[in-house]
Amino acid sequence: MKIIMQAFVFAMGLMAFSLSQASIDIQTWQTSKGVKVLFVEAPQLPMVDVEVTFDAGSARDAKQPGLANLTSALLSAGTEQKNEQQISIGFNNLGAQFGGQASRDSASFSLRSLTRENLLTPALDLFAEVLTQPSFPSEIFARDQARLIQALKQREEQPNQVASLTFWQTLYSGHPYANPVEGNIESVQAIKPNDLKAFYQRYYVAKNAQVSIVGAIDRKQAEQIAERLTSSLKTGEPAPALPAPKPLQEAQSQVIDFSSVQTHYMLGQLGVERGHPDYYALFLGNHLLGGSGFGSLLVEEVREKRGLVYSVYSYFAPMRVAGPWVIGLSTQNSQASEADQVVKQTLKEFMADFSDEKLSDIKSNLIGGWPLRLDSNGKILGYISMIGFYDLPLDYLDAFPRHIERLTKQDVLDAWQRHIKTDNMLTLMVGQPE
């Protein structure tokens, strides 16, 4: 690989768009239980993707870090009628793919199946059973708890993981986003199967759920699918609003002494929440600074000109409340100070000014690259799920490139100066930086 881009966890939200002729027709309605549904018809391949999302991410862990993640991981460990092996064989015999994951904001579960009736119907039945009747068997809980603790021990020996963990903990100190999604050894050790059941009862409810569907089915079938998956959910209550995190009031720098050959470096602060009006300008600027791989200023300065790194990137991760803005890289220990200086100098110069040519290039990159962001059912599903979950306007995908097109250089610079306080940044190094 020539370059590794920032993991695509954030890519979805980071991406922007254009060309109205490529517009995606999103249909939306509510199930009888009041669950929001978003649907895009994609008739070309005989397959369907369904995602059910709950506002049940690790931000809901309260005093039990790791609880949301374990709850989502154990959902398919057993139901009232079936054990773990029967569930996984059930999906696999049908050629269906079941998956699930927790993030800070949400827990989401996906099913991919062929549309053939004799495959799709039983796959949906099993999916519904897993979503609505999980039994959280204690024996499997104990096994997976032990596996997770082992992984958490390994995490402590991995410099990139330690960096990420420390970064969030420092930036969000005291906020629900501070803890890692997977929790930590002590907190995971203390979780009991009954905690999972209680968490499930509270958050896996209709008023806290959403369904997204993309595939070769019609509206009527989509309605039936959404109804089938959610009719047995308890009505419940939506999750409460999250508090706004507090920005850093002064610069902080932290070094964690670590026996690795490279120093893992993170620089950043709070960014914005999903739906913030400044996001377009921040996103466009970030795309130029470090969000677009080889066209970006950071890659040019830190990698191309000086050969200091293999990968350097920056991203905004807008979330339910202000997510982070981060610059990240790793470099051999002896080059860490130099990389730090080059990054900060590049940021400073970018925030002061950049050329009109760079602005028009980065705009044409974003606008011209629009169709690439919607070239598969999987990508479209990711977008509509995000649009629904964060209550973005239905024309978000079509409007984004129009917003980008309209932005002036001054708009970008103003937004960056409003949000990015270069005197109050967190600098974190894990390694033995020189």
Binding site: L45, P46, F98, E157, G295
Partner: protein
Amino acid sequence: MKSKFMRLLNPIIGSLILLSSTSINAMAQTELFETTLENGLQVVVKQDTRAPIVVHQLWYKVGANYEPNGLTGVSHMLEHMMFKGTDSVEPGQFSKRVSQMGGRENAFTSANYTAYYQVVGKQHLEEVMTLESDRMANLSLTNKQFQPERNVVKQERLWSIEDKPTSKLFEQFKATAYLSSTERNPVIGWMKDIEYYQLQDLKNWYSQWYAPNNATLVVVGDVDPKKVVELAQKTYGVYPPQTINPPKPQFELEQQGQRRFELKDATPVPNIIMGYHVPSLVSASDPQEVYALAVLASVLDGDDSARLTQSLVRDQKIASSIGAFYRPTGRLGAQFLFSAQPQTEVKVEELEAAILAEIKRVKDEPIQKSELERILAQAEAQYVYQQDSIQSQASSIGSMVSVGLPADTMQNWVENLRSVTPDQIQAVAKKYLHTDNLTVGILRPSGETNRKPTPKPEFSGRMH
């Protein structure tokens, strides 16, 4: 279902292609359009009109297993240099143009091939073909560009191998399992080799392998195949073929007894890799053996209800994670691999014994009809799912052609799996998965920790 920390994938071994990924009867096939230009460039086009975009890939038949000792990683180093300009295109200009188009581009090197790709709006196809064909013939290799890029590759090696014990284990596993074959070479190269490349080495490697008659062009997307061939003729077609001396045959010695090695590193959890020499579609005298091995890999680890997970993770609780891997498309044969991590409190020797017991079970009892049916159902479905991505469709074609296999190998894959009988699976297990053909690598905790006592954060009011 796996959370981020419960995934059963070792990132390095996980990058090998898991089999059972295609099928035939699931839906109407889109024809592959294949031709060869007069200068020897092979061209394969597949039409997919779902989005107004196109993926354009150029594959060279050169990779880490072509490299002589002392020059390991030179294919990968050259791949990096391919972005550093030509006689008519400034360094960085290639990427800049693709970026202006809104395209995505990258390149990758493996043991068997080196490939370059762009994904762009279909209206830009001709321009990326012009740019790509230009660097096939007119690369400008200078020391000024080479020295910083060498350091980039060093950083890449530090990042991807040196700080990752499981990556080191796999690298050393290959170097132990293969003694005489160049399949032992790490794709990124040994660090000392990277430090001692000369610019002339890169120039030699470029002129030795980069030519239209050693390359395959793959285009998938919203295109008319005839038009693509016209454009290929207009761009790539103008460069003459070069003399390509095929790599000398470098056979692996027949293994006559088990090999073992250990690696001690700062890790809290041990790991084990076990591998057997097996044929690939390229090296096999009987391809049916390959299909049988592929089905066997799926029986053991095709999904989360397969035998290894069911028996070792769920029932016996010996493994915390486990996988079996077989990539049947290597130019120089293949390894049938097992990679696992023991559960807390379980000795790695117990885990090894449990894996061997599962292998013995495959030899002793024919696999069940229900297992076969599940594997085929999944293979069929995955063939459809794979078509959701034009990138993976193109990559599947390019990787086959680059090792000398037919472009439609994967389209016929499920049909070939369907022909496998339980007897054939037992036969290949007995023939290949035996002690004298086994290499074992064990990663053991050194007892050290990377983490020093955490100092208090320093607060300062200024940037430095």
